[in-house]
């Protein structure tokens, strides 16, 4: 219906691209020594797998083209080091908050705040840009979920 009239570019690559990236990240995880040892707690492994999933999704979806993927990769990289980027982001957020408070719509802002907390990198965006990012993020997330579901189905014993 609106495909010809679509002003937003939300093309998401195919499932196999996501699958490839995910498998690559998982194999990188596997080569880490701490991962495959049996005395490792499951929760840590879960966290690592989750982080691997998000990172691979961000890479598969065009890493630097989208704001959410960029911020995801930054978060993943900087989690080991100190969060230097965080300070800069805060300053930008305050500037935008001032601008937004001038012409804020009370109906939208409450829900928009929640959305900003959910979508990575959403703190410094205006509402219209936020919508675009959310759309792309939703598409990529659903693709990633499909890939993981297939993986689980394929590996689980009958």
């Amino acid at each position: 219906m609106a495909s010809a009239y679509n002003p937003i570019y939300t093309d998401v690559p195919e499932k196999d691209v996501f699958a490839l990236h995910f498998l690559q990240t998982l194999s990188n995880l596997r080569t880490q020594n701490s991962f495959s040892s049996p005395d490792n707690k499951t929760s840590d492994r879960v966290k690592k797998i989750k982080k691997a999933a998000y990172v691979s999704m961000a890479r598969a979806a065009g890493a630097t083209n989208r704001l959410w993927s960029r911020s995801l990769l930054h978060q993943a990289a900087k989690r080991n080091n100190k969060n230097v980027r965080f300070l800069r982001r805060k300053r930008r957020v305050t500037w935008l908050m001032r601008r937004r408070s001038n012409r804020g719509d009370p109906i939208e802002d409450v829900a928009a705040e929640r959305l900003r907390n959910l979508v990575p990198g959403g703190g410094g965006m205006e509402t219209s840009k936020l919508m675009e990012e959310t759309a792309h993020y939703i598409k990529c997330l659903s693709m990633q979920v499909k890939v993981m579901q297939c993986l689980v189905d394929g590996l689980s014993p009958k």
Binding site: K15, R30, K50, R103
Partner: protein, 335 residues
């Protein structure tokens, strides 16, 4: 049907020197013709008015669009290009029953203004020139005053609906026309009774952008069409994103549990295992072989450039792995 309409309208519309009042007279003649032709129905009064207005809307809008097409044929690369969105606009106009004959009047007046001002046509951006905006406002109000008498004659119609619809249609038609003629000047038509200062116009443009994107989101998120209103839709979208994230977490937990199979699979995938046993097709059918698109690892092998083995190899390796899994009893659940 459009071609049939173009020729009689050509005579009346081709001359751009017609004043507004002349055009109104012409419209009134048209409407009276329509009334006469449709007065034989036995339907009640309101239905008649609605039918009349709808068909009137059709014809006059099509005539205006055909006129735009004429305009655009001198400029445009592709007459169909301008027609596409205008058709969409037409559908949008027809669906609004309360938008009566004000629409074509407005577009007529709009076209008139365009001819006088070297065809500067508006689009929905933020650059404005204040002087021309005020002029347009005045002419818009004049047209509305003149046509108000007609609308009072015709029946009940809410003024705000009219202005909304007319401004929307004028914007949409102008948008369709602006695709034909690309110009620098950007005007924004203001509605009657609304402030025309810079802030509120910018605000309105911003809100329209946001609503457009909300519509796009509505198409993506399943089950969002039933809820109306922006707040409810936003809540639905937030719930959907949250559910997707929890799904990712849940699946990653499952994967962590299935860690050993995962290791074997990854090991097998990234180091090319030779073809083991391709002579047992029944097992290949039974075992769920990593089905991505019902072809599963076949796609992966196609993508992976370093792999030079045939397509049979990965599936065979999955097959061996899964058979080994079935042999060992509870390997999956110990982690």
């Amino acid at each position: 049907m459009l071609e049939g309409l173009v020729s009689p309208e050509n005579l009346s519309l081709s001359s751009m020197d017609m004043s507004v009042l002349e055009r109104l007279k012409w419209l009134r003649q048209q409407q009276q013709k329509q009334v006469v032709s449709q007065s034989s129905d036995n339907s009640p009064e309101l239905l008649q008015i609605l039918q009349f207005h709808e068909s009137n809307n059709d014809e006059l809008l099509q005539s205006t669009f055909s006129h735009f097409q004429m305009l655009g044929s001198g400029f445009g690369p592709n007459p169909n290009m301008g027609f596409g969105p205008s058709r969409e606009a037409m559908d949008g106009c027809i669906s609004r029953r309360s938008s009566l004959q004000m629409d074509p009047v407005d577009t007529m007046g709009f076209m008139l203004k365009n001819s006088e001002e070297n065809r500067t046509i508006s689009s929905k951006n933020k650059r404005k020139s204040e002087v021309k905006r005020r002029e347009e406002e005045k002419t818009e109000k004049k047209i509305k005053v003149a046509a108000e008498t007609e609308s009072n004659m015709k029946g009940k119609s809410s003024m705000s609906n009219n202005t909304e619809a007319s401004s929307d249609t004028s914007k949409e038609t102008s948008k369709g026309a602006s695709e034909i003629q690309k110009l620098d000047y950007i005007h924004v038509r203001s509605r009657r009774g609304q402030a025309t200062d810079r802030h509120s116009l910018a605000e309105r443009a911003r809100r329209e952008k946001i609503s457009k994107k909300m519509k796009y989101l509505q198409d993506i998120v399943p089950g969002c069409k039933k809820v109306t209103g922006q707040a409810g839709m936003l809540d639905e979208i937030i719930n959907y994103v949250q559910s997707l994230q929890t799904q990712v977490e849940f699946l990653s937990m499952k994967l962590a549990v299935l860690n050993s199979e995962l290791e074997l699979a990854l090991h097998a995938y990234f180091t090319n295992l030779p073809v083991v046993n391709a002579s047992k097709p029944s097992i290949m059918v039974d075992v769920p072989l990593f089905p991505l698109d019902q072809q599963g690892s076949l796609d992966l092998s196609v993508i992976n450039l370093s792999q030079t083995t045939s397509i049979e190899a990965p599936s065979a390796s999955w097959e061996t792995q899964s058979r080994s899994l079935f042999n060992t009893s509870s390997l999956g659940f110990h982690y």
